[in-house]
């Protein structure tokens, strides 16, 4: 196979990992809304935790994006 083509295919496959991060971020926000609608008065204090969980989950998707960017521009 042409190495350039293999590089682009690899970058495309690496982006699949971001789907997992998408599922994770969706679960965090759905669970937060689930809890927040049951007890709205407690939800204000949990906003920082929500953003922290979102950021940590998103980091894993970012690593796969990083692999894709490295394949496209650095390898």
């Amino acid at each position: 196979m042409d190495p350039i083509a293999a590089k682009y295919i690899g970058a495309g496959i690496a982006c699949l990992g971001m789907g997992g991060a998408g599922i994770g971020v969706g679960m965090i926000f759905s669970q937060f809304l689930n809890g927040a609608l049951r007890n709205p008065s407690a939800s204000q204090g949990q906003f920082a935790n929500l953003i922290f969980g979102f950021a940590v989950t998103e980091a894993l998707g970012i690593f796969s994006l990083l692999i894709a960017l490295l394949l496209l521009f650095a390898v």
Partner: protein, 249 residues
């Protein structure tokens, strides 16, 4: 169609000399960074000059941003972390202002360059590392040894903790960079659809309303992302600084 990557190009304004073979130049990136610092300085100095009991608009903005960061820090680090307040507040205001300037059409987004966000993230990382070792001595390394873990899986957990600690500056910087880069490329791609559709004639101009509406909606979304990413950057900084202050889990 216009090249959507063109907006990230660095242009030299004037040269400052050479270090080795590397030219040191004042670029459009440096100009926008200075502009961001200037805007923050004007806002803060102008906001605190009046010291009115009933604040005017500028003073309210300055007070609101101060209170916002101070409350975030108090809830995540606690009162003894407030000595880092100037650092965290400067980071938040710089990232937020740079992101917001970038939304204005025809401007340059400073935070869409990895080197800028990496420098900010490494600053946080080195502050945590140096201050943590200075304050706790070798006790700082308790960070990698969580309590209540059975002894036979402790070595594995320690390796994972060390790797996650070392990957912090990577995820911290690439998050901001990737969000800004992806958002601005999407905006420019949709804006490119407007021009290429309207070149097709009367029907094309009618059809170009759709991508134009999409561009407007995306700009609103980018405004939210600009604020959210500045907030995420700040809250992660607070959480990392908290590790330096209280390394035992």
């Amino acid at each position: 169609m216009a090249d959507p990557i063109h907006q990230f190009e660095i242009q030299k304004i004037f040269s400052l000399g050479h270090i080795g073979n590397q030219e040191i130049a004042f670029t459009n990136s440096s100009a926008y960074m200075l502009g961001a610092v200037g805007i923050i300085g004007l806002l803060m100095i102008g906001g605190s000059a009046g010291k009115r009991l009933v604040p005017d608009r500028m003073q309210s903005v300055a007070e609101l941003s101060y209170e916002f960061v101070a409350n975030t820090m108090r809830s995540s680090i606690g009162e003894e972390g407030m000595k880092f307040f100037p650092f965290v507040f400067s980071l938040f205001m710089f990232v937020l202002t740079a992101n917001l300037i970038g939304i204005i059409p025809y401007t340059f987004t400073v935070t869409s360059h990895l080197i800028v966000t990496l420098a900010l993230a490494l600053m946080v990382f080195l502050t945590v590392l140096i201050y943590g070792i200075y304050k706790n001595g070798l006790g700082f390394f308790k960070l990698f040894v969580p309590h209540g873990i059975p002894i036979y899986i402790l070595p594995l957990i320690m390796v994972i903790e060390v790797i996650s600690f070392l990957s912090r500056p990577v995820s911290h910087s690439v998050r901001l960079f990737a969000n800004m880069l992806a958002g601005h490329i999407t905006l420019k791609v949709f804006a490119g659809f407007v021009t290429s559709l309207s070149a097709l004639g009367a029907l094309g101009i009618f059809g170009a309303v759709l991508p134009l509406a999409m561009t407007t909606a995306l700009t609103a979304l980018e405004l939210l992302v600009a604020f959210l990413q500045a907030y995420v950057f700040t809250i992660l900084t607070c959480i990392y600084l908290n590790d330096a202050l209280h390394p035992g889990h």
